[in-house]
Amino acid sequence: MARKPKVVSKATSTRSRRPIGSRGRTARAPARDSLDIHHCEQFLLHEARLLDEGKFDDWLALFTLDAWYWVPSEPDQADPIETVSLIYDDRRLLETRVRRLASPRMYSQEPRSRTSRIVGNITIEESARNHCTVRSKFMMIEYRREQQRIFGGTAIHRLILAGSRIRIAWKRVNLVNCDAPLDGITIPF
């Protein structure tokens, strides 16, 4: 999993909208003082539930303020900067994505999708005192406008313990059919 060079962008605007995830109106992510597999599992199930329930602001609040979210376009894709990605959002773009999901003029979500996810086969790949890398399998059914489709694949989360809360430092989603011809993807995995 190649990390990208960290370059904090220069502020070029006087617009001052607080980051969505920093408003204190956070999700009820379980409070923890360590990261064992049970805690990780509870966290992933909680995340899946927020997404299924369309609570995207709360989902965004699960991420750290410098997080990234990545859905590669190729199996075993080495990085998100030399190859296109179905989704590659740094924190700022992820906020924009989530804000758009709330827009009544997001025509690709009119009518809205309903999703149902199952998360399983959870393993901790690597861990230290206050962070770990968790691998899981997921299946997501998406229903919208008389059509149902199925997505499946592997999710890799880098979780960190921030105080008593678990936060996502990055998340990579490897879709089984990432390189297939795909109709538009609007709901995050």
Binding site: S16, S73, R91, R105, L182, G184
Partner: protein
């Protein structure tokens, strides 16, 4: 289907059946994709002998391959024996092609090399007979590395077909300090439930972004720039905000140009001072330095002042020279289309330039993009709407009879929101569909 196809296209309007009638779709595959110069791929996708790339002309599977002699070929991907698909992988390198059914083996140029159980075939069976070879697409030509093929044995050459649109391909290549581009960075394949023609009809549509893309415009305009970014989201946000330019911008500054054979481009849109150079990145200054050292200051200025947005080469190619994007439209069924999108690396340019190309691709061509997903929704809704006979005719009359002549043999709209480029594509459509092409159709 009406016998007289010219009835479908009238001044300022077109009948919905050309987007919905399966019989017309089949006829298009024969009379348009079976005749026109169709974009196949780029020479950089087949650099070495044996390199191949699998694609389609219309719905016909073909292989772009560089043979042992270094020649670029486009061959129908069918075994001469029982007709099965020979090349199954999307791309790769091979020393020969072998059918998985009875083991017929072909040279890279499609000639038959060997056949198991050869004694069992009729006495006059000859592996050197061209009839036992994989079938060549009769005409293959490149323009500055872009490979096109035509199923018509005779007809105008590629450069005649492209006409003034060669200058858009020039613009893509001229932006490379080393004067060469190469395909890199993967491919998007996005799909929709609508007719193939809708895609190019949207790509030069200057009147839709402000409305269709409202959700991403609003979300981007409200986005704080104080929030952490690794730099990759910068291009995306700038482009989404740019989509929010008022109608007066599209009506006063941007232009639409059309040319024979259905081609067009949207021009005088973004300039580099608004998007790329505004990032004030060292990489962009390094790029200009590289350009000036290779091409001189005057030529560098000329190249960077070309401000074309999408260039459409009818029937199935659209590319964007400023950010090195290229899209190929694949008709699947009358109401199903798949579009493959590619990126090009500018040889000799700083690596950061290509990273911007990738960021831009994710925004405008990505299957999970904040922008493209609303375009795909439009195609789906047009597909659903046009399936109804409630209204038979579609309006394409914006800007009708206000066209202006262009110095290079084309016509331009009085401003960029004119639907002249749709009318121009439908003129080409009618020309292909009603001409008697029997004389130039390939021998099968």
């Amino acid at each position: 289907m009406m016998e007289d196809l010219s009835q479908y296209v009238q001044p300022g309007r077109v009948h919905r059946h050309i987007y919905t009638d399966p019989a017309i779709f089949e006829l298009e595959l024969e009379r348009i994709f079976g005749v026109a110069w169709t974009y196949i791929g780029h020479e950089s996708q087949v650099k070495k002998p044996g390199d191949y790339f699998r694609t389609f002309i219309g719905r016909r599977p073909v292989v772009l391959v560089r043979d042992d002699e270094g020649e670029i070929r486009v061959i129908h991907n069918q075994c001469a024996h029982r007709g099965s698909l020979v090349v199954a992988n999307d791309k790769g390198n091979a020393s020969e092609f072998q059918c998985c059914y009875h083991g017929w083996t072909y040279h890279l140029d499609g000639r038959l090399k060997a056949v198991p159980l050869q004694h069992g075939y009729p006495r006059d069976f000859d592996i050197n007979n061209p009839k036992t070879a994989m079938v060549h697409v009769p005409r293959v030509q490149s323009y500055r590395g872009f490979v096109f093929a035509s199923e018509a044995r005779d007809g105008p050459g590629l450069e005649d077909f492209l006409g003034y649109m060669t200058t858009s391909l020039d613009d893509l290549v001229d932006r490379a300090p080393d004067g060469e581009v190469e395909v890199a960075g993967g491919v998007f394949k996005h799909a929709y439930d609508g007719n193939w023609k809708l895609y190019l009809e949207n790509l030069c549509d200057a009147a839709h972004p402000l409305f269709t893309h409202r959700s991403s415009i609003d979300a981007a305009q409200q986005q704080s720039d104080e929030v952490y970014s690794d730099g990759s989201g910068e291009i995306a946000l700038r482009q989404m905000r740019q989509n929010g330019a008022p109608y007066s911008f599209w009506e006063s500054q941007v232009g639409i140009w059309t040319y024979p054979n259905g081609h067009s481009y949207l021009g005088d849109y973004h300039d580099d001072t608004k998007l790329v150079a505004a990032l004030q990145e060292p990489a962009f200054r390094d790029y200009i330095t590289a350009m000036e050292s290779k091409k001189g200051k005057a030529e560098t200025r000329r190249v960077l002042e070309v401000r074309r947005w999408n260039s459409n080469v009818y029937p199935s190619l659209s590319f964007m020279s400023q950010f090195q994007q290229l899209r190929v439209v694949h008709p699947i069924a009358v109401n199903r289309t798949v579009v493959h999108t590619y990126n090009f690396r500018l040889k000799g340019a700083p690596e950061k330039m290509f990273r911007n190309t990738i960021s831009f691709a994710n925004t405008v061509n990505g299957t999970g993009s904040l922008v493209l997903t609303d375009d795909l929704e439009i195609y789906n809704r047009i597909g659903m709407g046009l399936s109804s006979a409630g209204a038979e005719w579609i309006e394409i009359g914006r800007g009708l009879r206000t066209d202006l002549p262009d110095a290079h043999g084309g016509k331009r709209g009085h401003n960029s929101t004119s639907e002249i480029y749709i009318r121009n594509m439908l003129d080409a459509w009618l020309n292909y569909m009603t001409n008697d092409h029997d004389a130039i159709r390939p021998v099968s």
